[in-house]
Amino acid sequence: MWMLETSGVSIRFGGLQALQSVSFRVGEWEIVGLIGPNGAGKTTAFNCVSGFYRPNSGSIRLRGEEVTELPPHQRVRRGMGRTFQNVGMVKTSTALENLLTAQHLQAGYPVVSGILGTGQATEAEHDLVDQAETILDILDLSTIRDTVVGSLPYGQLKMLELGCALATDPDILLLDEPSSGLGPTEALDLGDRLLALRKELGLTLLVIEHHVPLVTKVCDYVYVLNFGEILAEGEPAYIQSHPQVVAAYLGTSP
Amino acid sequence: MPLVSGIVTGCVYGLVALGIVLIYRSNRIFNFAQAEFGSVAAFVSVAFLDGLGPFPKLPYPVAVLFGLLAGAGVGLLTERLVIRPLFRASRATLLVATAGTALFLISAQAVILGVSNIHVFRPVAPKTNFSLFGPVGSAHAYTFGYTEIDIVIGIVVLGAVGVWFFRTRWGHAVFAVSEDPTAASIVGISTTRISALTWAIAGLVGAVAGVLYAPVKGALTPGFMTGIGEVGPLVFGLVAAVLGGMTSLPGAFIGGILVGIIGSFAGTYIPTSFPGGEQVTLAAVLIFVLLVRPTGILGTASET
């Protein structure tokens, strides 16, 4: 059974067919790359998978369960985490507060308890703070614990966003261009980190990427999206030399 | 006849809606002060008509003209003093600002004129000898009088505004700024001037609505166009604008007519044992449109 499977997903915006019968599969513990030129529809595909868009046709299955009709937060509850291309955080809160918010589903006390300030709620909050600080440690971000997120440099922002995605306790993580804005060495460091995440946390990853060395280093399997359709799929080495893929990126005819 | 009177008041609502859509297109907010442009215009006209206080008594057309100028002036002032300083603010803030402006204008009217003084807006003409559905004075006849002149004036105003917009350079500029302010400024259109112009026009259209509605209302109270303690033309105009699609000018006017008819029928046929029938009907229309067809009758999809 596949961790994540999309079949025939199509979505149309007005006159534009953004995705046409897109089908891909991600196996458990795999790191799968989704690549393609700008405007190919990669983020649109992510939005369909994570529930922000509703496709016109096709289905999305998480661990065999049909999730196509579920709103985004229900998919998070079932173990699907994601990051955003332009970084999704609560900009006016501190790093710690963001991590606390991201642990929303782990909070373990009813809302009323929170309002009344019961012991159960207070204890649960302590646990959340501990877990948040652990995540900060793992990602070497302890120094920014009380910094307002909006004032953070881009690199730390992205790392924190990854931390928040991890805080939702996902089984599969959808990363939208995690290396964007990073320099070449930082990008490869990121690659190491992703591999470590898979190994230590048993995560499955679906990654939108432009950075070819990173894709080659990290991905087990790659899908190429072009003009809303899957152009090719295969292992990174195969994809890199695939003539149509090269043409799609460079604009020359195969 | 509820249908005809509905169309008549509908013209007023249509004009209010017109002003609302104008501002929505240019500033992306609902102008809650739109109706007050009309209240102010009506009161200024009355001041000149009756020679109140320091105002000299002037003939009807001149008094009304001053009223219209006052309305346009208030629109300009609002743009200058309220809207422009808040250009960086969120849309919700701007909306609250227009609501505050409305309250300010209403209170100003109340302070200056008082609630107890009755100011009656004389109709522009007494009932004429022209009637529909039968000779004048008979049971089924609908005699034309000042209220029916509303219809003619309203349509003429709409037509004139529309023509002006579509044909003149200034009109094109207003459209350009409302579609894309950055692009407009790049081609050399002064967005501040156009903004002022747009609000002056909205003030003028609102003023016309106020001056036309005043004789229907008869005894004027401060804020009568916004509706204090009752449903005034502002709310009808807002619902009409939504019904018409919020971005379409002819849609706004048609929405106004429709809302007028609906309101008229609700007022006539819903028994008084069910209080607030008019309001409930309006609310139902608004909610229905927003849930089922947010783009209204003539709006375009990209605008919600």
Partner: protein, 357 residues
């Protein structure tokens, strides 16, 4: 969080002077609030109104400040609470506390219904819908003779123990304090964080697993609950329910005072509410000092007394929006933070600025 005054003195010792000053400030504040109860029926009457306005402000703050939605029909929630409280008191003879509580529940239920409808609608249109719903309720439900006891309005008699304004005022203050406390707890809990995330960026909230619609509804319900309680207290304060009291103007006043006070800040909203509630008092007592009758013709003087407060209120709003967009909360922040045990600092530091509002 570290207390900076302790760091400045260089040790972990208690800063006795700071502690003493804070204690004194609290004593003055609490003492002042309690002392008002003994000032006689007129002043306590105004104080009761102020306390009720504070409750409404806190209620509106949940929707406007925490979720970031504009509610222009809030007077309907308050009015519904008043209506139910008065009706149950007169027609069913239920005791005061029960009446007010049910008034609150009525407000919550209405808010739930409004929420279901309105929250499916995007952006500013939501404000429009709340406006229309508010007006509709005022024109329909509040005019039903069976509920309002006829044109003059249903009466709501206070229990004998609360007949004195001073005592009723203390009850209102107690409710305010309770709501203040519960609201601060809400803010620190997972619900408070969820609401903040929703206000900032809904898709981020979704990606954190937050049920956005559910929490927005929760905010509406909590807001309605508090507004309903305020309405119940209002009915008993004037000892009558009158539908005309709950007009669009009142809804606007509520929004204005929340914005002037500073949406998102309990203290700011409370101060804004008190200012607006007291505008009437101030204007009428300014009579001897300004002598309106000498400056303006007689009728205008009377009008100023009646409508001046609205005029001033609207003017305050426009000033706030232009020059002080964060509301009075910005000015009050150093004081409120100091009173709560933090350091006294006029300006925000870049670090830890966002923590514990």
């Amino acid at each position: 969080m570290t207390d900076h005054t302790a760091t400045i003195t260089g040790t972990g010792r208690l800063d006795l002077a700071g502690l003493g000053a804070r204690f004194a400030a609290w004593v003055v504040l609490v003492g002042g609030i309690l002392a008002i109860a003994g000032t006689g029926p007129n002043i306590t009457g105004y104080a009761i109104t102020a306390a009720i306005y504070v409750l409404v402000g806190l209620s509106l703050n949940i929707i406007l400040g925490y979720v970031g939605q504009l509610s222009l029909g809030h007077q309907a929630l308050v009015g519904t609470g008043a209506l139910f409280a008065a009706y149950l008191s007169k027609a069913e003879g239920l005791p005061f506390v029960v009446d007010v509580v049910i008034g609150g529940l009525a407000g919550a239920a209405l808010a739930l219904v409004i929420g279901f409808v309105a929250l499916r609608i995007r952006g500013l249109y939501l404000a429009l819908v709340t406006l229309v719903i508010g007006i509709t309720l005022q024109g329909s439900l509040f005019e039903v003779p069976a509920l309002t006891g006829g044109g003059a309005g249903e009466s709501a008699d206070r229990p004998s123990v609360l007949l004195s304004n001073g005592r009723f005022y203390l009850v209102c203050v107690a409710v305010c304090v309770a709501v203040f406390y519960l609201d601060s707890r809400l803010e620190r809990s997972k619900a408070g964080r969820a609401l903040l995330a929703i206000k900032e960026d809904e898709r981020v909230a979704f990606s954190f697993g937050i049920d956005v619609m559910g929490y927005k509804l929760l905010a509406f319900v909590l807001s309605g609950l508090i507004a309903g309680v305020a309405g119940g207290l209002f009915a008993f304060s004037s000892q009558q329910f009158n539908g005309n009291d709950f007009s669009f103007q009142l809804a606007l006043t509520f929004v204005l005072m929340t914005v002037v006070g500073g949406a998102g800040s309990r203290v700011g909203v409370a101060v804004g509410a008190i200012i607006f509630a007291l505008l009437h008092t101030v204007v009428s007592h300014a009579g001897p000092f300004v002598s309106f009758a000498n400056l303006f013709p007689a009728s205008t003087a009377a009008n100023i007394l009646q409508f001046g407060p609205d005029l001033i209120g609207a003017f305050l709003l426009l000033l706030t929006l232009a020059f002080n967009p964060g509301g009075l909360a910005q000015q009050l922040k150093p004081v409120s933070r100091w009173m709560a045990g933090g350091p006294f600092r006029i300006h925000e530091l870049p670090v830890s600025a966002g923590a514990r509002r």
